[in-house]
Symmetry: C2
Subunit: 467 residues, 2 copies
């Protein structure tokens, strides 16, 4: 296929910027359109920048684009979950028994800016800000934009259009409303919403609590988390039901009630948040949703990628990583040298869809794990055993969390099947006292492996009759 | 709550008509609006009426409305699946080992007409035809209608509005497009579509093939089925992929190719279908979809029921039965004497949602079972064992099919969990040669029960950590 083809990308967020960079590197003519102003020059106050957890799947994509070193400079390693109990006691629960396996807190704004800078270095990549896509004519491969500066509308055409415009994608909306083909689609909302808060840096720019961890205050039906930023601040997020329970977003309407709630459940965090009330009543409460759909493409004309195709809840720290992995997988399909875009898009979706469905489901499971199970005795026994297995048999055992987060060459779907079977095996053996944690570790490894394999085999026999 | 309340029901199909009848019996003022002409007087040619499978959950609702006897007169019992292999050989596979358990072929039009007749006997029930609901203002509890006769639009208000207007529900669309609350929604299409065909009666009005069965020509990736009608005809349905495989709806475009396809795969059926070509090219090809959503209600103003809330694929023969069961469950909630409609709607959805999700998933599983597994040796061994267990231990064993179809006092969700665990237990024990079909039946019953219980226990331990 000719490289001089014109590719229009809608949305210059993390996925769109990386895609523009990579397609630019491959020699395509890329036009990247973004509804917001340029994130590199827009006024974003320090300490309020949202951060994300970058892990091995995302880093693999950074390597592909040759920018791993620059990205590493923006990262703060988080080696585990720092669990805060209701008394204020802290326990560090590592993410892995292998020391080199950790996740990284990174600023969305700084990373996005870096990707835009790198993309712009290519003469064949043009970036346009303040231009919002309103709809896509997927039969004629044109997109309708509104220019927020001139307040006018215009139409752009291209050889292919790729929409990386997030959970509210204009292309996906056009697929849905167009009714030109059978478009499967789902949006599922959690009963919980979230609100961002913050710990500001100390007066001399230091961190008010332990820097290299993802802090969790899990309270069964709600939770608070905190991730560190380079400037010494932490971005803190409260996940809470909209309507249910004694305290919820619906009834936290006065300063007194908010303080009372934090005093009761997050006492040690409250001490670090003199700015709580201002944050709480200034920042919006936002919903948490999962979007799945299929097909992602229309013929060889248009394609959905990133959150536009598969928005997920944030509890596995994999939303950005999954979107970056989309680019890795798409790049690999381009390497296969298919004749036309329709085959490329079809092949890409066929490889990828099962994996993005898997991480969507895993992310919902992890919500329950984070807010509740980390405090549960049998869950902690499982994690302790897994940490010991990973440490002592580094080449022979990976927990579900490790499979998802640190094993970028295993697909999400495979990680889900194997990880869930392992969890089921260990939890059942612990519940039935078939595992003795004082036993020889090697014996326990073999028991876990055998029970996991039996679960996988039995599921396979049953599943063969479902599909 | 006062009985003089005005209830507006949108859609006079099977669910809406039964609901109008039942709410009429309970003394409410009911206005029932339908977009189509009156099905009792509209010209529907005999032999082409669509038929459905009425089973115990549906019959329970008929009993509640006091019309079981009248409905029974419209029924043709089907005692099992008549499996037609590619050579034309037939084998009867019973639905149950208990003789009194069978399903019933019934005409949609005749049953709907009966329900309308019964509803109309109540002075407090008014039915309006040719009036299509375009949208619902769920905050003000009003509905906008178009009158197809006068070609004018008008607005109706009511104390509550219940939408039973099917898979394309106007109320559900208003919920989705209104964006006034977090509305979870999914539509999933199968890659297969369906087309209705027919066996006409013999010249003297008899049945051309065995009357008391649901006939299946399962061919792994596609299938044909036939259900008997009172007039001696059968309604025949072809389920086939739109795009994939050697033959599909996309490429069956000539008479020659259609005949070739039927000659090759459905030879014995073709002999009964001199009218095949006319049917094939006259009747539409329609898609097969599943719709789920939540919440079903908005405050105490509006409620979705039947297919409007949960459209499912037809492969378990449970679409109509599930909608009728909605009315049974709703009626029971009304009996509880709640103070206001919001509590009634919330309670109803809380009871019901898990069950309609379950039957939606079971119906998709059964698609694979019908087109393929019925031909598979191990599947047949499982069914033979289950038939023997049901026959010899009628009070002590029910297959998944029996739990879903003949056990109206067990919820769909419970039937799914138990039925899937039983299937998994039996299939794995057969695959591992842990069940000997020549063994004492009592021994095998106990083995199946023990293995099923173990699966349920292990799933429960693992699931406690997912939610």
């Amino acid at each position: 296929m000719k490289k001089q083809q014109n590719i229009l990308i809608i949305g210059a967020g993390l996925c769109g910027s990386l895609l523009a960079l990579r397609l630019g590197q491959r020699g395509y003519n890329v036009s990247l359109y973004e509804m917001r102003p340029d994130i590199r020059t827009a006024n974003i106050s320090a300490g309020r920048s949202i951060n994300l957890a970058l892990s091995d799947r995302g880093i693999k994509a950074m390597k592909l684009a040759g920018i791993e070193d620059k990205v590493r400079e923006l990262c703060i390693p988080m080696n585990g979950r720092m669990l805060h109990d209701i008394e204020g006691k802290m326990v560090m629960a590592p993410y892995s028994g292998r020391e080199h396996e950790y996740i990284n807190s990174i600023s969305r704004g700084l990373l996005n800016g870096l990707l835009l800078n790198e993309a712009e270095k290519h003469d064949n990549v043009k970036i346009h800000f303040n231009k919002k896509c309103k709809s896509v004519d997927f039969e004629n491969t044109t997109a309708l934009f509104k220019d927020y500066k001139s307040n006018t509308e215009f139409v752009e055409d291209a050889d292919v259009i790729i929409a990386t415009d997030g959970a509210g994608s204009a292309l996906r909306k056009s697929y849905y409303l167009g009714k030109k083909f059978l478009f499967s689609f789902s949006q599922e909302w959690l009963s919980h919403g979230y609100k961002e808060l913050s710990f500001l840096p100390t007066e001399n720019g230091g961190f008010k609590t332990y820097k290299n961890a993802l802090h969790i205050w899990g309270r069964d039906s709600f939770m608070l988390i905190a991730l560190p930023n380079l400037d010494g601040s932490f971005t803190v997020t409260l996940f809470l039901s909209y309507e249910d329970g004694e305290y919820n977003f619906g009834n936290l309407t006065t300063e007194e009630k908010v303080i009372e709630f934090f005093q009761k459940y997050f006492k040690d965090a409250l001490e670090l948040m003199p700015n709580l009330i201002e944050d709480f009543f200034t920042n919006p409460t936002s919903p948490l949703g999962t979007v799945k759909c299929s097909p992602w493409h229309y013929k060889g004309n248009t394609l959905l990628m990133g959150d536009a195709a598969h928005a997920i809840v944030p509890f596995y720290g994999q939303g950005m990583n999954a979107s970056f992995e989309d680019v890795t997988v798409f790049d690999k399909v381009l390497d296969e040298g298919h004749e036309d875009w329709e085959t490329i898009f079809k092949t890409y979706e066929k490889h990828r869809k099962r994996d993005t469905d898997a991480i969507a489901d895993l992310a919902i499971d992890n919500f329950h794990e984070m807010k509740g199970h980390v405090n549960n005795a049998i869950f902690r026994e499982k994690r302790n055993l897994e940490m010991a297995l990973e440490k002592n048999f580094p080449d022979n055992y990976s927990s579900k969390y490790s499979l998802v987060t640190f094993n970028e060459d295993i697909s999400y779907h495979e990680a889900m099947l194997k990880g869930r079977a392992q969890d089921k095996a260990i939890l059942n053996m612990l519940a039935d006292k078939e595992l003795d944690l004082n036993d020889d570790l090697k014996t326990n490894l073999e028991k876990v492996k055998a029970a996991t394999q039996e679960i996988l085999d039995e599921d396979r026999v049953a599943k063969d009759f479902k599909h």
